[in-house]
C-alpha cells in the first residue's frame, strides 16, 4: 500500500507534484494562489504549459508537465471541476488520477489546497486504491517497467483532520486490497481450504473466526453445498467471522448482529453442465462475493467499527468428475427444502441456500446481505455499471442505493414477484435451481429468497461488477472488490452505535 503522509501545503523544492485545480478558479482563491506559487518557482512554466494543453480544470482532466524547473521532476495538474460541487467521490477520483499520472515517480506530493481535511483524506484514499497492483506472480518484469510510486505526501492546511479521517480510509483500503488479492489469486492456489486459512489470519485484527469442513457441514445437513462440492478433489469450507465492535456498555442491550454472506466458488467449471472453454479462466473470480465479505470484515475490524457483524462465506470448487453432481439430482438443503438440480452451473445459489439458512437460524441477524457473482443475466440486464440487487425491505434498499451513490459502487434494484417464483417450480422437488432464460437473475433471486426465512434481506448480484476489463479512476483493471466500500459505507452511515 502507498505510504501516505499529510503535511502543510508548502511547495516542495524537488521531486514530483500533483496540483489539484478547481475549474475557472477566481483570482485570489486558494487554487489561484497555488498556481501563482508554482509559477513563481518555475518562471511561469506551469501556467504556460497548462494554457498550451488547454487545461481548464474540468473534472477528470489531467495534464503532465515534465521538468518545469525549480528542481521539480514532474508537475501533474488534475481538474476538480467546481469546488462547490466536489463530493467525496470526486475527491477520490482526483486522487486516483493523480496517482496514475505519478506512477513513474518513487515519491510525490499532491497539493489539495482549498479542500477540507476530510476531502484531502478522500484524495489519499483514491490515490491508494488506484495504486493497487497484484504482482505476486511476475518474476521476470524489469524493474524499470514496474510502477514506482511508494510514498505520497498529501499537502493540506487541515493535516490533523485529514489524518483522523485517513485512519478509517486506510482500513477501507486495506480491506479492499485483501479482497482484490483473494479475487486475483489463481484457482490452483486459492482453493477453499487456502481461502479459509487466509480468513483465519484475520484473527490478528480481533475477529473471531470459525472454520467448518465437510464433516461438520455434512453433519449439519448442508445437502446443497455438499452437492456442489462433491465433484472436486478440494474440500469445501464454510468460514464464519465475528466482529463484536458494538461493545456492551452499561444499559446497552446487545443488538442483533448484521450479517454478510458471500458466494465463494474458488473455481467454477460449471460442473457436468460444463462451460465453454472461451473465458473460463475468468471463473477464478467466482468467489468475489466471498472475497468482498472477507474484505468488509477486515475493514470493520481495521477501523474498529462500533457494530456487531457476522461474515459467512461458503467456499467450494465446482468440478466435473466421476463424483460430481448431475443434472437431475435432487438434494436436500439445510432448511429441509428439496431442490432438483437442472443445471450444475447454477451452483452459487445452492451454496448460498445452505449458508443463508444457517446464518438466519444461528444468529437471528438484523438483516442479511448476500453477495454473489451469480448470473450472466444480470450482465445482460445492467452491464458493468451497476450491480443488481433484490430485496424484501424497502428501507434497507434505499439505504443501500444511497451508499452506492456515495462510494461509486452503484447498485440498481430489480424486481421480485410471485410470477417469477413460479418459474422455478419443479415436478419432482420443492423447486429447481434454474428458471429459464427470461428473467434469469430474478429467478435466481427468487430461489435465494426461499432460504432467508422472511428475514430482512438483500441479494447483490455482482457478476458484472466484480472484475473490470479497464482502469477507472480508483480501480485498476482486474478485481474491483465491489461491495467492500458499499457495505462499509452502509454500516458506517446507518448501523453504528
Amino acid at each position: 500500500m502507498l505510504d501516505i503522509a499529510f503535511a502543510k501545503p508548502v511547495l516542495p523544492k524537488s521531486g514530483a507534484l500533483a496540483l489539484l485545480l478547481e475549474q475557472d478558479a477566481a483570482a485570489g482563491s486558494p487554487t489561484a494562489a497555488l498556481l501563482e506559487a508554482a509559477d513563481a518557482a518555475t518562471d511561469g512554466a506551469v501556467s504556460r504549459a497548462l494554457a498550451t494543453a488547454e487545461f481548464k480544470g474540468r473534472r477528470g482532466q489531467t495534464t503532465t508537465i515534465l521538468a518545469p524547473g525549480a528542481g521539480l521532476s514532474r508537475v501533474v495538474a488534475v481538474g476538480l471541476g467546481k469546488l462547490a460541487e466536489l463530493s467525496d467521490r470526486h475527491a477520490e477520483d482526483a486522487g486516483g488520477h493523480a496517482a496514475a499520472a505519478l506512477a513513474r515517480e518513487p515519491a510525490a506530493a499532491v497539493a489539495t489546497v482549498g479542500l477540507t481535511g476530510a476531502q484531502a483524506a478522500s484524495v489519499a484514499l483514491g490515490a491508494a486504491l488506484r495504486g493497487y497492483r497484484f504482482d505476486r506472480y511476475r518474476t521476470t518484469e524489469k524493474p524499470e517497467d514496474k510502477p514506482k510510486l511508494a510514498k505520497l505526501a498529501v499537502l493540506t492546511a487541515e493535516a490533523a483532520k485529514a489524518r483522523d479521517a485517513w485512519t478509517a480510509g486506510r482500513a477501507v483500503a486495506e480491506g479492499v486490497f485483501l479482497s482484490r488479492d483473494l479475487v486475483s489469486e489463481p484457482p490452483n492456489v486459492l482453493t477453499p481450504a487456502e481461502m479459509a486459512e487466509r480468513c483465519r489470519k484475520l484473527e490478528s485484527l480481533g475477529l473471531k473466526v470459525e472454520v467448518f469442513g465437510p464433516k461438520e457441514m455434512t453433519k449439519l445437513g448442508f445437502g446443497a453445498l455438499m452437492g456442489v462440492a462433491m465433484g472436486s478433489a478440494c474440500e469445501p469450507r464454510m468460514v464464519v467471522m465475528h466482529w463484536n465492535g458494538a461493545g456492551t456498555g452499561k444499559g446497552r442491550k446487545a443488538a442483533k448482529p448484521l450479517a454478510f454472506v458471500g458466494k465463494g466458488v474458488t473455481f467454477d467449471t460449471g460442473g457436468i453442465s460444463i462451460k465453454p472453454a472461451g473465458g473460463m479462466e475468468d471463473m477464478k473470480w467466482d468467489m468475489a462475493g466471498a472475497g468482498a465479505v472477507v474484505g468488509l470484515m477486515a475493514t470493520l475490524a481495521g477501523r474498529k467499527a462500533k457494530v456487531d457483524a457476522i461474515g459467512i462465506v461458503g467456499l467450494v470448487e465446482n468440478m466435473p468428475s466421476g463424483t460430481a453432481q448431475r443434472p437431475g439430482d435432487v438434494v436436500k438443503t439445510y432448511s429441509g427444502q428439496t431442490v432438483e438440480v437442472i443445471n450444475t452451473d447454477a451452483e452459487g445459489r445452492l451454496v448460498l441456500a445452505d449458508v443463508l439458512w444457517y446464518c438466519q437460524q444461528k444468529f437471528d441477524p438484523r438483516f442479511m446481505i448476500d453477495l454473489a457473482t451469480l448470473t450472466g443475466a444480470i450482465i445482460i440486464s445492467l452491464g458493468h455499471e451497476y450491480a443488481g440487487f433484490f430485496s424484501n425491505d424497502d428501507t434497507l434498499s434505499e439505504q443501500l442505493r444511497a451508499a452506492g451513490e456515495a462510494t461509486g459502487e452503484q447498485v440498481w434494484r430489480m424486481p421480485l414477484g410471485e410470477a417469477y417464483d413460479k418459474q422455478i417450480k419443479s415436478d419432482i422437488a420443492d423447486m429447481k435451481n434454474v428458471g429459464g432464460r427470461p428473467g434469469g437473475a430474478i429467478t435466481a433471486a427468487q430461489f435465494i429468497q426461499r432460504f432467508v426465512n422472511g428475514k430482512p434481506w438483500v441479494h447483490l448480484d455482482i457478476a458484472g461488477t466484480a472484475w473490470s476489463s479497464k482502469d477507472s479512476a480508483v480501480t485498476p483493471k482486474g478485481a474491483t472488490a465491489f461491495g467492500v466500500r458499499l457495505l462499509d459505507r452502509l454500516v458506517a452511515t446507518h448501523f453504528e452505535s
Binding site: A377, Y386, G439, G440
Partner: protein
C-alpha cells in the same frame, strides 16, 4: 371484438356469472353446489352450478375488497371458463361502476381471439361473442363503461394488428388499417418513401431499403377537447412498427422467426391508445408517430458498417442490422419532437432480447429522461395490470456507443451486452429536452399459451397503460 350489452336483464344469456367474496353467502340456487364442492370464494376459485333456473358460475374474489386488478382477473376467469358459450351475463347488480367496468373489461379482454384466417369450422372452438352486464342502473353504468370500454376497444384493435402475419400486414397494409381511426375523429396522415427521403429520415429509410414493401411514417392526431385542445401541447406516442423482422443481413436463426410478425406491437399499441382516447373523447391532445418498415434481406439492404444520416443530423454507424428498431425510432422520435414540441413523448417497442433476459415475461422495461414522467408511467401500468420496471441509463451505457467513424453506433457487437440499456441510451439522443419515457415491451407483446387470465397470442400491452397515463397525468 366482443359485444357488451348493459341491461337490467339478460334473457339470451346461457349462463350468469356471480362474483363472490370469501365467505359470502352464495345465491340460493347455488347453495347445494357450494356446500358439495367446498367453494369458499378464494381469489381464483370458480364453481359452476347447473341450477333449474339457469346455469351459474361463481367466481371467488378472496378476502380483501378486490381492487381494479382483482375485478379484472375475476372477469377474465369467468370468460375463460365460459368461452364455449356464445352469450353470457355478468351479474354486476351489487357492484359500484368502477368494479363493474373492471369486471366486464377483464371478461372482454380474455374473450378476444383472432379467427379471421380460419376457414374450417372447429367444433371445440370458443364461441363467446356477447356479454350482458347486468345492473339496476344501466344508464349510469353505460357512462362508466364508455371510459373502460375505450381501453378494451383500443387493446383489441392493437391485438388484431399484431396477430396479422407479415404477408398480410405490410407497412402499407398497416397504414390502411388506420383508416378505422378516422371514423372516431382521429386525423391520419402517411408519409411515403419519397416524402421520407425529402425530409431526410435516413435511418428509417435504410431499415426499409431491403424490402419490396417500402417504409412509411404514419401520423395520428387527436385534437382533444375544450381548453386543453386549444392551449396544451400534445402528448406524443412513438411506436416501432417493423411489420416483419428477418434481422436483415444479420439474419436471425430460423427457429422462432415466425414470431417476428409481432415486431410492430409498439406501433400497434400506440394506434390502439389513440383509438381509446378518441373513443372516450379525451380532452387531451395527442399524436402518435408510427415508424412502419419491413426489415428484409435484399439486394438493397443496409449493411453492418454502413453509416446513416438520421433526421436529427446525427450520423449513425450500423453494427448489427437486427438492431433496426432503435434506428426507425430515432427518426420517428426526432420527427415527433421537432414537429409537435410535445409536452412528453413515450415510445413503445419490442426492442431487445436483453430486456427479456432482464425482466422476463412479467414486466416491461422502462427507461426515461424524466423521473416524474417515469413514475406516472409506472403507476399507470400498475393500475391497469401492465406492470413495468424502471431500468437505468448510465453514463457508461452512453459512452459504449461512441463510434470511430460516426457520431454514434447503435449497438455493441458481441453477446453479454446490456443491450436494452444501450438501446435506451441511443434513443435518448433523439428527443432533445422533451420529457421522455421508453418502454421496451419485448417479451410482453405476446402470450405463449392461454391461461385463466390471458388469451393466447397478442396482449395489446401498452394500450391501456397509455390511455390511463393520459387520464391520470395529462387531462387535469
Amino acid at each position: 371484438m366482443i359485444r357488451l350489452h348493459i341491461a337490467a336483464s339478460a334473457p339470451e344469456a346461457l349462463a350468469t356469472v356471480v362474483p363472490l367474496r370469501a365467505g359470502a353467502p352464495p345465491p340460493a340456487p347455488a347453495a347445494a353446489a357450494v356446500a358439495a364442492t367446498g367453494f369458499a370464494g378464494h381469489a381464483g376459485e370458480t364453481c359452476e352450478v347447473f341450477a333449474p333456473a339457469g346455469r351459474l358460475l361463481l367466481v371467488g374474489l378472496g378476502d380483501d375488497v378486490a381492487g381494479e386488478a382483482g375485478w379484472h382477473a375475476a372477469g377474465a376467469r369467468a370468460a375463460a371458463a365460459l368461452l364455449a358459450l356464445p352469450r353470457i351475463a355478468l351479474d354486476a347488480t351489487a357492484l359500484v361502476p368502477d368494479q363493474a367496468t373492471a369486471f366486464a373489461a377483464g371478461a372482454c379482454m380474455r374473450a378476444w381471439r383472432f379467427t379471421r384466417l380460419k376457414t374450417l369450422a372447429e367444433p371445440d372452438a370458443p364461441r363467446l361473442a356477447a356479454i350482458d352486464l347486468l345492473t339496476r342502473t344501466p344508464e349510469a353504468l353505460a357512462a362508466a363503461w364508455g371510459r373502460a370500454g375505450a381501453g378494451v376497444a383500443g387493446a383489441s384493435f392493437a391485438r388484431d394488428l399484431v396477430a396479422e402475419p407479415g404477408n398480410l400486414l405490410t407497412p402499407a397494409d398497416f397504414a390502411e388499417r388506420l383508416a378505422l381511426l378516422t371514423r372516431h375523429g382521429v386525423g391520419v396522415a402517411v408519409l411515403d418513401r419519397a416524402e421520407l427521403a425529402r425530409q431526410g429520415l435516413g435511418a428509417l429509410l435504410a431499415v426499409g431499403a431491403g424490402s419490396a414493401h417500402p417504409p412509411l411514417l404514419a401520423v395520428l392526431r387527436w385534437k382533444g377537447r375544450g381548453t386543453l385542445a386549444r392551449t396544451a401541447a400534445p402528448v406524443a406516442f412513438v411506436g416501432k412498427g417493423i411489420t416483419f423482422d428477418t434481422g436483415g443481413l444479420c439474419i436471425k436463426p430460423a427457429a422462432g422467426m415466425e414470431e417476428m410478425r409481432a415486431d410492430m406491437a409498439g406501433a400497434a399499441a400506440c394506434a390502439g391508445a389513440m383509438l381509446a382516447l378518441a373513443q372516450r373523447d379525451s380532452p387531451c391532445p395527442a399524436i402518435a408517430v408510427l415508424a412502419l418498415a419491413e426489415n428484409a434481406t435484399g439486394a438493397a439492404s443496409y449493411r453492418p458498417g454502413d453509416v446513416l444520416r438520421s433526421l436529427s443530423g446525427r450520423t449513425i454507424e450500423v453494427v448489427d442490422t437486427d438492431a433496426e428498431g432503435r434506428l426507425v425510432l430515432a427518426d420517428a422520435l426526432a420527427w415527433a419532437v421537432r414537429r409537435y414540441r410535445p409536452r412528453a413523448v413515450i415510445d413503445l417497442a419490442t426492442l431487445t432480447g436483453s430486456i427479456v433476459t432482464a425482466l422476463g415475461h412479467h414486466r416491461a422495461g422502462l427507461f426515461d429522461s424524466d423521473p416524474a414522467l417515469a413514475e406516472a408511467v409506472a403507476a399507470a401500468g400498475e393500475a391497469v395490470g401492465e406492470p413495468v420496471w424502471r431500468m437505468p441509463i448510465g453514463p457508461g451505457h452512453r459512452a459504449d456507443l461512441d463510434s470511430d467513424i460516426a457520431d454514434l453506433r447503435h449497438c455493441l457487437p458481441g453477446r453479454m451486452q446490456p443491450d436494452a440499456c444501450h438501446a435506451a441510451a441511443f434513443l435518448r439522443e433523439f428527443v432533445d429536452d422533451t420529457p421522455w419515457a421508453h418502454l421496451d415491451i419485448a417479451g410482453m407483446e405476446q402470450q405463449a399459451e392461454a391461461s385463466d387470465l390471458h388469451a393466447v397470442g397478442p396482449t395489446g400491452f401498452g394500450v391501456r397503460l397509455l390511455d390511463r397515463l393520459v387520464a391520470m397525468r395529462f387531462e387535469g
